[in-house]
Subunit: 371 residues, 2 copies
C-alpha cells in the first residue's frame, strides 16, 4: 500500500493489451479523474480475465482501504500482478487491509518492493536526490517484473514518487517521456502483460514552486533525475529476467527514423536464435545478420550494414570484417554485460534497448510456474 | 542435384530477408529468366553474408555442373543452407560435382532429401498421384528445416516437382498460392532465414494438355494435390522443429480480415510463455489471453473472445467458461497433437497455422549448434 499524506499529482501509463486486467481499468479511470491518494498493490494474482466479479472484488478492496484511511473509495487505485484468470481471494485479502493501513511507514519502500515480487529474485527499488533551486528533489521508486516483459506503454508495475510539485498536464507528459525512454525500452521475452502499469506521483513536499511548463529548466532537471531512476528500475528488471545470465544493450544507429531503429533492435533482442547464442556466449554474428534481415526495414542495403560486439567490428559492409577474429568476439560474448551495435548506414536516427538471454532456466521457470 | 531431363517450367518464391544469401540472388534471377534445368543444393554452409567471393563461388559450382551436364551455366540454379557468414569450401565441393552428375537417378529423392538436412532429424519427402483427364499427375517433393523457421514467402529449401505441363504465368500464381497456404503458415521460432527458397517445377512428362488458366478445373486439381504435398512437407518441418515435443494447430476464427487472424495466430504461436506452457502440457489459458491481448488487433473486445483446446471450451466471453475444469484442459494438453482455437467474435475471416513448443532441447541445440 502506497499512501500520499497530502494531495499529490499522479499520472500513469498502462498496458495496451486488449485483455486489460480489472485493476488496470479501474486505476486508469481513477488516476485520470484525479484525486488519487493511495495505491493498493497485490502480487500472486493478476485479477485479469476475471469479468465482473474481478472488477467488484478490486472495487471492494479499495473501499476497505479508503474506509480505514478515512478517504473516499475512488481515491484508491488498485494494481495486481500474478496468475491470469483466477478470482482474487477476496475475504482473505480484505481482512488483512486494516492491518496494512496501520503498518504504513515512510521507510517502507524496501518491504513494499519485496512484497510485490513474483518470479523476481530480488526487490527493485531506488532513491535518488538532485539539487533544484534553493532545495532538492527526492525521487524514490520500485518495480517488479522478470517475465512476460515487453512493456508497451509501461512495465509490469512500477511506482515512482517524487517530492517536487508538478502540474497535472506537465506530469502527464513527463510520465510518457520517462516511460518511453526506460520501461518501454526493455524486452525479456517479447510478451506483453495484461497488467503493465507505471505510476508517477509528485507530492510537492519539497515546497519548491510548481513545475508548470514542459521543457522548462526545472522540468529538465526533474526529468533527467526521473530517467535515472526509471532506467535503473527497468534495467533491474532485465538483469532479473527469468533465467537471465546476460545483460545486453542493443544499440541501433544510422537508421532513417527511430521506429526503424527500434524494429531492428527488438528483432535482435527477441530472436530465440540470437538469445540462445547469447546464452552460449557464441559470437554467432550470422544470427545477428539474420535478425537484421528479417526486421522488415524497407530497401535495407545489407552491403552498408556494420555490426559491433562492444568495440569490436565483426561485420563491415554486410560481411565478416577482414580483421575480425572469432577469439576476440568470444571474449566480448563471455562478459556478463556487453553491447551489440548495428550501424544501418542509411540515416541518423538511433535506438537503444536492453535485453537478456534465453537459457534452460527460462524454460524451466515458465514450464513450472503458472502465470 | 535435381536435373530435369527435358525443358521444365520452374517457378519459385524466396525469403524477403534483407540479408539474402548469394545463391538466393542467383537462383531468383535465373528462375525468373527461364530455362532452368538443374538445381544444385548444399547443406552445412548457407553462403550468406559472404560478399562477392560467395557469389563467385556459387556461380563457379553451377558452371561445373552445367559443363558436366552439357548445358549452359545459367540453366543451373544454386541453393544453400547451413552456417551464415562462412565462405563455401569451393575446391572440395567443386571436385565432387562430376561424380554427383554421374550418380543422378530417378529414384534418388530420398537420398537427396537426406543429403540436405542440418539440425533436422529425418528426411522430409513425399510423392503423391492424382488422376487428371485421361492420365494422372505425379507430384514429388522434399524439404529441409527445423530451426530459424518462420518462412516469409517460402520455407528453408523446399522443392516440389510435378509431371503436369503448366504454363509459366500459371505456375507463378500456383507457387505463391501453394506457399501461402503451406510453408507460409508455419513457425517454429519466428526467425526467418536468409536462404528460404521454395521451388515448384512442372515437367509436362505426363503428356496431358498444358494448364494455361488460373482457376480452370485442371488447375484446381493440380493445386489441391500440390497443397497436399506442400502442407505435408511444411508440417514435417514443424514436427521436426528443434526440440519440438508437440505439434499444435492454431486456428483463429471470427476475425474481420485474414491478416488480423494471422496476427493473433502468430502471436500465440511465437509467444515464449505460450510455447513453454505447451512444453509443460499446462492448460495455462491466461497466457493465451495475454498473447491475444498483445496481438495488436484494434478495438478488440475481450468480452467477445472464446478459446478452445481441441473441442473443449476454456474461455467464453473473455473469462473462464463456467463448465471448464482444469483436469479436462490438462488431458488435451497432454496429447502430442492438438488444436488451439480462438474465436474473436468480430467477423468471418480466419487463419490456420502450425507450430511447436519451446523445450530445453531447443535451447541446447541452439546454444551448441552454429547457424
Amino acid at each position: 500500500l502506497v499512501f500520499f499524506e497530502g494531495p499529490a499529482a499522479v499520472s500513469a501509463v498502462f498496458t495496451k493489451s486488449s485483455f486489460r486486467a480489472a485493476p488496470v481499468v479501474i486505476a486508469e479511470s481513477r488516476i485520470s479523474a484525479g484525486g488519487v491518494r493511495a495505491l493498493l498493490i497485490n502480487s500472486g494474482n493478476a485479477n485479469a480475465a476475471t469479468g465482473s466479479s474481478g472488477h467488484e472484488a478490486a472495487l471492494g478492496l479499495c473501499d476497505t482501504v479508503a474506509h480505514a484511511l478515512g478517504l473516499d473509495g475512488a481515491t484508491v487505485a488498485p494494481f495486481s500482478t500474478g496468475v491470469i484468470g483466477e478470482q482474487l481471494p477476496f475475504e482473505r485479502m480484505n481482512s488483512e487491509l486494516p492491518g496494512l493501513v496501520n503498518s504504513l511507514a515512510a521507510d517502507g519502500w524496501l518491504a513494499a518492493a519485496a512484497a510485490i515480487l513474483t518470479t523476481d529474485t530480488a526487490p527493485k527499488v531506488i532513491s535518488h536526490q538532485v539539487p533544484l533551486g534553493e532545495s532538492s528533489v527526492t525521487i524514490t521508486g520500485m518495480a517488479k517484473g522478470a517475465g512476460m516483459i515487453k512493456p508497451d506503454m509501461a512495465t509490469m508495475l512500477a511506482f515512482i514518487c517524487c517530492d517536487a510539485a508538478i502540474e497535472g498536464a506537465c506530469l502527464d507528459t513527463l510520465v510518457r517521456e520517462v516511460a518511453d525512454a526506460s520501461f518501454n525500452r526493455i524486452t525479456i521475452d517479447g510478451d506483453t502483460s495484461t497488467n503493465d502499469s507505471f505510476v508517477l506521483a509528485a507530492t510537492g513536499a519539497n515546497n519548491l514552486p510548481h513545475i508548470t511548463e514542459v521543457g522548462s529548466p526545472e522540468y529538465a532537471v526533474v526529468k533527467a533525475a526521473l530517467l535515472h531512476v526509471a532506467r535503473h528500475l527497468a534495467q533491474c528488471i532485465v538483469r532479473d529476467g527469468e533465467g537471465a545470465t546476460k545483460f545486453v544493450t542493443v544499440n541501433v544507429t544510422g537508421a532513417r527514423e527511430s521506429n526503424e531503429a527500434l524494429d531492428v533492435a527488438y528483432t535482435i533482442a527477441e530472436s530465440p536464435l540470437v538469445k540462445t547464442a547469447l546464452f552460449a556466449g557464441d559470437p554467432n554474428w550470422g544470427r545477428l545478420c539474420m535478425a537484421i534481415g528479417r526486421a522488415g526495414v524497407a530497401d535495407l542495403d545489407a552491403a552498408r550494414v556494420d555490426v559491433y560486439l562492444g568495440e569490436l567490428c565483426v561485420v563491415r559492409g554486410g560481411l565478416k570484417d577482414s580483421k575480425y577474429e572469432e577469439t576476440a568476439g568470444a571474449r566480448v560474448m563471455a562478459l556478463d554485460e556487453f553491447e551489440i551495435r548495428v550501424e544501418l548506414g542509411r540515416g541518423s536516427a538511433d535506438a537503444v534497448i536492453w535485453t537478456s538471454d534465453l537459457s534452460y532456466e527460462y524454460v524451466r521457470i515458465n514450464a513450472e510456474y503458472r502465470t
